[in-house]
Symmetry: D2
Subunit: 88 residues, 4 copies
């Protein structure tokens, strides 16, 4: 995983702490919801980035490898995270 993913996640953590502060300071509900949605959107971007690097490393290795079970496992995981991304 890229150092970039780590950096982005730390930025998201800072954003989330800002949201917590908003709630502590009794900010307007809708503003809080909007910031939570922005945090979620940022997290989705990190997921996409991690998936991209995963496809270009582990997935290529597994699919080109001779272990059929491993290949199936790796491809099944892609389907699963795609399915979950449709549910959140």
């Amino acid at each position: 995983m890229s150092a970039d993913a780590l950096k982005r996640l730390k930025t998201v953590e800072g954003h989330l702490r800002g949201v917590i502060r908003m709630v502590e300071e009794d900010a307007y509900c809708i503003d809080v919801i909007r910031q939570i949605q922005a945090v979620e959107a940022a997290l989705s971007k990190v997921s996409t980035q991690i998936l991209e690097s995963h496809l270009n490393s582990c997935v290529i290795t597994a699919v080109q490898g001779s272990d059929k079970k491993e290949r199936q496992r790796v491809l099944k995981e892609i389907t699963e995270v795609f399915e979950m991304s449709n549910k959140i």
Copy 2:
């Protein structure tokens, strides 16, 4: 793509026609929204199913093939549909 995907999409089409009928008959707004959400959930399931069969056919072929550009193209598409699934 499986005949199953086709069958499911036709079922979704029937469901959507039902929603249109509800609107024509002036059904309660919230009931219409719920049915539209059910149609969307059903569509997501078909997407996941199509992606799964795509991974187990075209993607394996491309990743095991010798054309590096083609491999990159195919993997990039997976990232793109994943990214989009986070936005809908």
Copy 3:
């Protein structure tokens, strides 16, 4: 509900029929997934539009009315469709 919602849903129905045709003609999996995602995005837009008109009619009536139970029911429904929209 506006005649506009009905018109949009019929457009979506046409779009979905196009997707079914793509599958029948054995189109490329990723192209089908992208079109299904476009149909979902279009459906979300119709939902939002219906919710907007619902808020400006039924919800105002219920919240201004004297029936407390009815008011609670109407507000609970808004929460429920919001919750569901986060899951699809």
Copy 4:
């Protein structure tokens, strides 16, 4: 906003810190993606909870109030966060 929302957000913050640790320790990409998705799902739940309490306080006050502009503003915001929830 309830103290419960604050508590939940702090729990999510702890969860997110756990994800950051996973990345630092070079955890398996798919496991990281799954945890990010779990964080997103938890955030959506907090949003729903905040919206619910907002509907039962500010929205009732605004809709029952005599300021038509304020009422429209408050209802428009509901539509907006619903629309956004469909995009993340």
